[in-house]
């Protein structure tokens, strides 16, 4: 993701939405309603293994 700060500003995201995206906080993004078929591919781009992704969106501890 190039220049994420610019991207979230252009998209008009609220501060808590922006921080979730910039920090790649999958739990928060999922809680905000990001569709699984968008969020999981996003996590794949950032090389997050499937088990780790599921732990994160489920709010489980590793």
């Amino acid at each position: 993701m190039e220049a994420p700060e610019t991207l979230v500003e252009e998209a008009g995201l609220l501060p808590h939405e922006s921080s979730a995206l910039i920090e790649r906080n999958y739990r928060a993004l999922y809680g905000l309603g990001v569709h699984g078929l968008l969020l999981r591919p996003f996590s794949i781009i950032h090389e997050v293994p499937e088990p780790e992704y599921l732990i994160q969106i489920r709010g489980e501890s590793q």
Partner: protein, 277 residues
């Protein structure tokens, strides 16, 4: 002419792109099922395919979603996913047939969206690869919104299917009707990897019996309870609407955890074909 072939088939991308995550037995069972379907469809001398399908944010996003979208272009290209390990292929369409479906739907009080430019993802390419590997038979795609609520109700999909069936039966071509999607899966969601085999088997038995009343009675919530992706089964219910009176034969059912999907393959026979046999 007639509905010369009807089938339902899953489209999990893993079937093509990470097949090794299914067991050897599962892969063999699914391969046998597809081989049998392939023999049946080859013998049917198909002129046109109408595929009842879903897509995964490939053509539509939240800025524009319709419950149904008929592809009216003279071709479409797919798959869009480079990781599908399939080169992108141009697949011919049939604008005239697509327009007849749209016109008939409007005449029956159903107004689908339509698009001249569409791209295919795994949802359409996986079944075409297995059933029409030469990609040389013109395809009319009908996309169902399975992603963003509100999705069209199963009974509404059944009604659209009835229109499609009437057009297929009177088209002058030998039509293959294929419904793809499902079965239970929850991709990228909390229950990812969980497969509701009990639900899948019940749904398969209803399709086998041609139990249209039970199929129409499902709600989106009923389907979604077996995983968000299970809503793709509205395409199967639309196929039931197209056939009206039919029986089905399950060629394979495999809950493939490695593909995070319950995989169903079924051959369907309309009642009029059974009477002709």
């Amino acid at each position: 002419m007639t509905i010369a072939f009807a089938a339902t088939i899953g489209h999990a991308p893993g079937w093509v792109a990470w097949a090794e995550r299914a067991s050897e037995e599962q892969r063999a069972n699914l391969a046998d099922a597809v081989a049998e379907l392939r023999e049946i469809v080859k013998a049917a001398n198909i002129d046109r395919v109408i595929i009842l399908t879903s897509e995964h944010w490939t053509n539509f996003f939240l800025d524009h979603i319709s419950p149904f979208c008929v592809g009216v272009g003279d071709k479409a290209t797919g798959p869009v996913e480079p990781w599908m390990k399939m080169g992108p292929t141009d697949i011919p369409g049939d604008t005239a047939l697509a327009r007849r479906i749209i016109d008939s739907a409007y005449a029956h009080g159903i107004e689908p969206g339509f698009a001249y430019e569409l791209r295919y993802d795994h949802g359409t390419m996986v079944p075409l690869k297995f059933l029409f590997p030469e990609f040389d038979v013109p395809v009319v795609p009908i996309f169902f919104n399975t992603l963003a609520a509100p999705q069209p109700s199963p009974s509404r999909c059944f009604d659209l299917g009835r229109v499609i069936g009437e057009i297929a039966r009177t088209s002058g071509d030998r039509i293959a009707l294929i419904a793809t999607g499902g079965m239970s899966h929850d991709p990228g969601e909390l229950k990812h990897g969980w497969i509701d085999s009990d639900f899948d088997r019940k749904f398969l038995s209803q399709m086998e019996a041609g139990d249209v009343e039970s199929l129409k009675a499902y709600s989106i919530a009923d389907l979604g309870a077996a995983g968000a992706g299970t809503i793709e089964l509205i395409a199967w219910i639309a196929l039931a609407g197209a056939l009206q009176k039919f029986s089905g034969r399950t060629l394979a059912y495999e809950p493939v955890v490695g593909w995070a999907t319950g995989m169903g393959v079924m051959h369907l026979q309309p009642e009029h074909e059974r009477e002709m046999a």
